[in-house]
């Protein structure tokens, strides 16, 4: 089914000049969507982009009609994109107005604008069809995108737009980060919240408009939502997250266009989105920061440490161990014999554990603020967690007679 040679050619930009330009455009678009979407996600407004993208349709229709009426071809891409941008802004303003000035919640406002604007757009599409001037390929392709009939200068326009977006995000990354996390702090550091929000929305609109031709207006939101949510699993840092989001988006655009070029009946838009979805699933399962498997591994490792420590303390107190998991952990490290009596190494480890517990108790008494962190730290060997001088000080206190004052 898949044409291997074409796929490799497409991946290495050897499948013809136009495919290469389209792939470049898709990579830049994915990158732009992933980075802009990161801030949109952190600002908790991901689905506003859904209203925005659906609201482009009436603008495309009107732009087409106006250009056809003025004697043009009606298919002039920059004109159509301008129309799309204007009606998307009107849609966005409607969402904002409905949520600010009426009692409706954001979700209802988004849904209402999305469906009403899209419905009106469909009315205009059918007008164009019945006029007989809008050949299906020209206008219908904005619904689900299409890279097959793309002209060279169209692809260059889109690549330029995507590059501009990526540049703007880079320049304004500090302001964008601040409004996502701490509005008050952002305001006191002289950032105009409304203007930065507007910038974010303009960037979202630019991604949407750029994506119309390649991915289509129904699915373009996927490029703003899926890569950032996937990136969320890899890191807790905003800048890294924007970077990872951009990489996932770009990779989706790259692999998606290559697949679409080499498999018959593989439309680029849905394929790019599905590649992004696959990368999302991979992130969800395997990402080290918050992925499912790593989370399971960490919780198992933690519970193992707890069993080891509690088992060793029980050995020192001379108590019998009944918990099966504890026995299993201690046996696997050869700290107890099969009959439950401690080995030589087990006795050493038990004494060591007791000493560390005592040191940690003193540490916590002196540093009550660290209690939360210490709850996990105290199960690790103390030498890995504290500096030599800290440990020496703790030992001094441990060995000092009761009632003596700490040094300093």
């Amino acid at each position: 089914m898949i044409d291997g040679a074409t796929f490799v050619n497409a991946l290495t930009f050897n499948a013809g000049y136009n495919t290469a330009i389209v792939a470049t455009g898709a990579v830049l678009l994915g990158w732009a969507g992933g980075t802009v979407g990161t801030f949109l996600l952190l600002r908790r407004r991901s689905l506003v982009s859904d209203a925005l993208s659906h609201a482009t349709l009436p603008g495309i229709g009107i732009a087409f009609l106006v250009m056809a009426w003025m004697g043009g071809s009606g298919r002039f891409l920059p004109g159509l994109l301008l129309g799309a941008a204007i009606s998307a802004m009107i849609g966005l303003a409607s969402v904002e107005w409905l949520t600010r000035r009426t009692r409706l919640n954001a979700d209802a406002a988004i849904g209402a604008v999305l469906s009403a604007f899209f419905g009106f757009g469909v009315v205009l599409l059918t007008v164009i069809q019945s006029l007989g001037i809008g050949r299906q390929a020209g206008i219908g392709s904005f619904l689900l995108g299409s890279t097959s009939g793309m002209l060279r200068n169209e692809a260059i326009t889109l690549a330029g737009l995507a590059f501009g977006i990526a540049l703007l995000v880079f320049l304004f990354r500090r302001q964008l980060t601040l409004i996502c996390f701490d509005e008050t702090f952002a305001r006191t550091s002289g950032i105009d919240i409304r203007r930065t929000d507007l910038l974010l929305m303009l960037l979202v609109m630019a991604v949407t408009v750029t994506g119309l031709r390649i991915v289509g207006l129904i699915l373009v939101v996927a490029l703003l939502i899926i890569p950032p949510v996937a990136a969320r699993f890899w890191t807790d840092q905003t800048n890294t997250m924007a970077l990872v989001g951009g990489l996932i988006g770009g990779l989706s655009g790259f692999v998606g266009t290559a697949l679409s070029a080499s498999v018959p009946n593989f439309p680029a838009g849905p394929v790019i989105v599905l590649v992004a979805a696959c990368l999302f699933v991979v992130s969800l399962l395997f990402a080290p920061a918050r992925g499912v498997f790593y989370g399971l591994y960490r919780s198992r490792a933690f519970s193992r440490k707890v069993h080891r420590r509690q088992g060793l303390l029980a050995i020192l107190r001379g108590e019998a161990i009944y918990d099966r998991d504890t026995i299993r952990v201690l046996r696997s490290e050869r700290l107890i014999h099969a009959d439950g009596t401690p080995t030589e190494a087990g006795l050493d480890a038990a004494e060591n554990a007791a000493r560390e517990e005592a040191l940690w108790t003193i540490y916590l008494r002196d540093n009550p603020d660290a209690a939360y962190r210490a709850a996990r730290m105290r199960l690790d060997p103390i030498a890995q967690r504290l500096t030599g001088s800290e440990i020496a000080e703790l030992e001094r206190q441990l060995n000092a007679p009761a009632g003596s004052l700490p040094a300093g």
Binding site: L47, L98, G111, L125, S130, I226, V271, L274
Partner: protein
């Protein structure tokens, strides 16, 4: 009254009204529960469900399509919860991930499978073909009593009628539980109302209505009617039962005026256009909401007076 009026105008209008009212009734709860976009998401994921059902059975019969769509809606609801909990992201973003991915899968399957010989494509799925659901045997008022002529009614009419009845019965049976779990889920839970079950039942019913309306009139009407009439009604009144009544009124007005504007209205202004009735109905519902947002008595809610 023109002889063809019943068959060419009344029957499709009635189909539109039935779909609109079914959606609007449920929409009242979605709007109040801040789940409006669930309707949007469900309408999108219905597509892969239907396509998979089509690929498995090779036919466009209603039973498998309904099953496939219901399964897809259920799977998507589970996936949304999973992504929301594992990813610790807001539900909107989780929804966005799931419904765009599933919709893309649906489109891809549609392109890969050979559906060209049956009338089933993406545009049909989006804006249906309300204008084609005509009753050619309905030549005059007498044919309403003519068994042979009645057999020629579009089957969607009967299906949507049954759907509306199911919605109304559901609302009657679970009215108290629905209302209390919508307005005060904590109290409802402590009073022994199965809040989660009621929520799941509501979403399942939205999915069923979405499939039925989807097949007859396309996804646009479904999404618009799940949200716009209920949102507009919410701006009219502070009380729930009047809100439900208003939403039904708005749904009926949208369907009737929208269908009229798409056909006869266009002739009236002397243009030969035939425009999408589904799109026009959604547009009218949006206009009604716009008017309510500017002028309705309770547009700012009770607290701001």
């Amino acid at each position: 009254m023109d002889g063809l009026y019943i068959g060419l105008v009344l029957v499709p209008t009635l189909i539109g009204v039935l779909a609109a009212v079914s959606c609007a009734l449920l929409g009242n709860f979605l709007v109040l529960r801040k789940q409006s976009l669930m309707g949007d998401a469900v309408s999108h994921v219905v597509l892969p469900g239907i396509v998979v059902a089509f690929i498995l059975t090779g036919s466009v019969s209603v039973g498998p399509m309904l099953l496939g769509a219901a399964a897809a809606a259920l799977i998507s609801a589970l996936l949304i919860e999973l992504v929301r909990n594992l990813g610790k992201v807001e539900s909107g973003a989780a929804m966005g991930v799931v419904f765009t991915a599933l919709f893309a899968l649906g489109i891809l399957l549609l392109e890969q499978s050979d559906t060209r010989n049956v009338h089933f494509d993406v545009e049909h799925a989006l804006y249906g073909n309300l204008e084609s659901l005509v009753w050619l045997a309905g030549i005059d008022a007498d044919s309403i009593f003519d068994r042979a002529a009645l057999a020629g009614l579009p089957p969607q009419l009967g299906r949507l009628f049954v759907t509306l009845v199911v919605v109304i019965v559901f609302l009657f049976v679970f009215w108290r539980q629905l209302v209390v779990s919508t307005f005060d889920p904590v109290f409802a839970h402590s009073a022994g109302v199965p809040v989660r079950f009621i929520g799941a039942a509501l979403i399942s019913l939205v999915a069923i209505v979405a499939v039925m309306a989807f097949e007859a009139v396309g996804a646009i009407i479904t999404i618009a009617m799940l949200i716009c009439p209920a949102a507009a009604a919410r701006l009219m009144t502070n009380r729930f039962i009047p809100q439900v009544v208003w939403s039904v009124v708005f749904a009926v007005v949208s369907a009737v005026v929208g269908f009229w504007a798409a056909g006869s209205g266009m002739e009236l202004i002397g243009s030969g256009f035939s425009v999408s009735a589904a799109g026009m109905i959604a547009t009218v519902s949006g206009l009604i909401l716009a008017i309510c947002a500017v002028a309705a008595p309770q547009r700012k809610g009770a607290l701001d007076h």
